[in-house]
């Protein structure tokens, strides 16, 4: 660890080293606390500051949309972002670094659940306060969280297992249609499924079940792909899974009782921010557990040398099947959440464009890494929202960015890094860094 820091500081410019030293002793909880303070400040003085800086309203996504629409407002937006977010977070983080380091030292002794819960609650509070300002923020945030689930589940196949699967939109649509059909059938008066069968109050209790059933539907779909394509290695999976995606799409286009090409709309509004957040936490927790166990690492063994894995008692076929179904399950759950967030789905939602988005997030963020998936999903998702005013040019800038990543970091931004919660929340000391 120490060696790595030393090595990387050689090739980074001096300024960054100094910046890293300056910020290096702030523990995660202090960062989160700073974030919380900054979003609270925004709710209090955001409007006043925005009008002071000549902005029409509070910049919704870090001022980017505003600045692109009216370039003259760029300085105002920059000033807003640096005062409200950057300055506040750094200032609060730096001031509270010492007490939070002491706290972190204590917390690391406790059972891991307690500090993790504290961090997650703080993180959720930040999101809640931040997204309270506008509905658009809330929607963007929810879609970003769902994108993390999708990216992470695809990373299991494309990153950890090293195969190339193109069927994620297909799994997502199976989950979305499965969950939507159940919820609409039971809880909504709808032209497709008729009168609601159960009182609406039961909806929130059935929602998790519907999501899980959607995930199971996706996993069953995955089984159809897995049986023929895992007999051998190579490009078969890519081809079969691409075909699967199109089959699922045209299946839903032609199933009239599922709405046909017009899709299903009017899903109950159950995927609120806490629900999505909780599902995301469960998803990250379970996937991270899996990929850090020997059973999960068997995927890496299969990817790097399948024959050696077999010779070392690893049941490679089972390993691949389990991982594939597991990934499809989470894609299905993400699809169900997506359907209930947007509250309208049709077969076109799950086409090639979505595939391109998910693949881009996986390869941008980094293969074989939970961090990578989070980074990739958040950055690309926010970026594509922020660049929305550029319309068509968005699709020039984002691919260009991807090409640059492929040139300079072929495996993605944060590839092959283990997501170790304990390491994440441990206290940060300057002296350690300088050794």
């Amino acid at each position: 660890m120490v060696e790595k820091n030393g090595a990387s500081s050689i090739d980074t410019p001096k300024r960054f080293v100094r910046l890293r030293q300056f910020l290096g002793d702030i523990p995660l909880l202090a960062w989160l606390f700073g974030g919380l303070i900054s979003v609270l400040v925004e709710t209090q003085v955001g409007d006043a500051l925005a009008s002071l800086l000549g902005l029409p309203k509070v910049p919704v996504l870090f001022g980017c949309v505003l600045a692109l629409k009216h370039p003259l407002l760029l300085p105002g937006a920059l000033a807003y972002v640096s005062v409200i977010y950057i300055a506040t977070i750094v200032l609060v983080g730096k001031i509270t670094a010492r007490p939070f380091n002491l706290l972190a030292e204590k917390m690391i002794q406790w059972p891991i659940v307690i500090p993790v819960a504290i961090h997650l609650i703080t993180l959720y509070a930040i999101m809640h306060v931040w997204s309270d300002i506008s509905l658009y923020r809330e929607l963007t945030l929810k879609l970003t969280l769902i994108a993390i689930m999708l990216t992470l589940s695809l990373n299991i196949i494309n990153g950890y297992m090293g195969e190339f699967s193109c069927s994620h939109p297909g799994f997502m649509s199976l989950g979305a249609y499965g969950a939507s059909a159940i919820m609409v059938l039971f809880f909504v008066n709808d032209r497709l499924f008729g009168k609601a069968l159960l009182p609406e109050a039961l909806g929130p209790f059935f929602f998790p079940i519907a999501l899980i059933l959607g995930g199971v539907a996706a996993a069953l779909g995955a089984l159809l792909i897995a049986i023929p394509s895992f007999k051998t290695r190579g490009d078969y999976l890519a081809i079969i899974s691409l075909a699967f995606m199109f089959i699922v799409k045209s299946l839903f286009e032609n199933l009239q009782f599922m709405g046909g090409a017009r899709g299903i709309k009017g899903q109950p509004d159950l995927a609120n921010l806490p629900t999505v957040f909780i599902w995301l936490v469960i998803c990250v927790w379970v996937i991270n557990n899996f990929v850090r166990s020997t059973m999960g690492k068997a995927l890496n063994a299969v990817r790097d040398d399948e024959m050696a894995a077999e010779a070392m008692t690893v049941n490679t076929r089972r390993t691949k099947m389990v991982a594939f179904l597991f990934a499809a399950f989470w894609a299905g759950v993400a699809g169900g959440l997506f359907a209930h967030t947007v509250r309208f789905i049709n077969p076109n939602t799950f086409g090639v464009q979505r595939l391109a988005e998910v693949l881009a997030m996986v390869y941008f963020g980094g293969l074989n890494s939970v961090y990578g998936s989070i980074v990739g999903a958040v950055s690309l998702n926010l970026l594509s929202e922020m660049l929305r005013p550029l319309a068509l040019f968005k699709w020039i800038i984002i691919p260009l960015l991807l090409i640059l990543i492929m040139i300079y970091r072929p495996t993605g931004l944060v590839a092959f890094k283990e997501f170790d919660v304990r390491k994440l929340i441990q206290p940060k000391h300057k002296s350690e860094k300088e050794v």
Binding site: T294, G296, A311, T313
Partner: protein, 256 residues
């Protein structure tokens, strides 16, 4: 009863007869070697016994149990460990992960454990870890446990592979040219390692080797394979003086 018994094994690749009428008997704790010129079919024999190929004819029994038709991982978990000629390591994994991976078939926590991190999983992973560290200690590479294997020198990689093969707790160990590409110094170390493994763990060892020094020092019995057929079998001395072997394999070297 012998530990590994191969009877009249024959294998064809299409019309090519790669192995013909091969028989083998290994007793517990024995070290035996298979020598032969390049392309004689030595590695094919390894792959046939370990289950990567299925022989066209013949039978193979490990510890009295028929193993033909089993998947390679099933054969491996019944007690047959192996190393590879060209170091089949997993390039993105650390040394410790390599050795722990070979204990895959001994994990009983199942998918529930893997997904939810149950106490049972933590217990088993911890046990597997300490066992792996023991083996790394035995191979003298415990200090490299957290290194990624591709960063290691060749000799250390060989040791990792050996530790990995031992981690599945085999009864018999197949070594496919364990000293290929080694300097004389490394070769001596390897010899030491194989001896340690043999003495401390009491394993039977079956090895393919090109370097006769190694074979002559280690083995009790040697088979010589030429074009898929065993042309001679016996103690090192017998093999060295066998005219057929000299003709086919040792050739001019023995004449000088």
């Amino acid at each position: 009863m012998s530990l590994l018994q191969v009877e009249n094994m024959t294998h064809y690749f299409g019309g090519l007869r790669a192995v013909h009428n091969f028989s083998l008997d290994i007793e517990p704790g024995q070290i035996r070697a298979l020598i032969g010129p390049n392309g004689a079919g030595k590695t094919t024999i390894f792959n046939l016994i370990t289950g990567i190929y299925t022989p066209t004819e013949g039978r193979i029994a490990l510890d009295g149990e028929e193993i033909i038709g089993l998947q390679p991982h099933e054969v491996a978990s019944r007690g047959l460990g192996r190393t590879f000629q060209n170091l089949c390591l997993w390039r993105h994994m650390t040394v410790l992960e390599h050795v722990m991976m070979a204990r895959y078939s001994r994990l009983t926590y199942g998918l529930v454990g893997a997904f939810f991190g149950t106490p049972r999983r933590n217990r088993e992973e911890a046990a597997s870890r300490s066992k792996a560290l023991e083996l790394l200690e035995l191979m003298d590479i415990a200090h490299l446990a957290d290194q990624t294997v591709i960063n290691l020198p060749y000799g250390a990689q060989r040791r990792v592979e050996m530790a990995r093969a031992l981690a599945s707790e085999p009864k018999i160990l197949f070594l496919d040219e364990p000293t290929v590409g080694m300097t004389p110094e490394e070769l001596d170390q390897m010899l030491g390692i194989i001896r340690t493994v043999h003495q401390e763990l009491g394993l039977a060892i079956y090895l393919i080797e090109h370097r006769l020094k190694m074979v002559m020092e280690l083995c009790e019995r040697i088979q010589t394979l030429v074009f898929g057929e065993v042309i001679a079998e016996g103690t090192p001395e017998e093999i060295q003086s066998n005219p057929k072997v000299i003709e086919a394999y040792l050739g001019k070297e023995a004449v000088h």
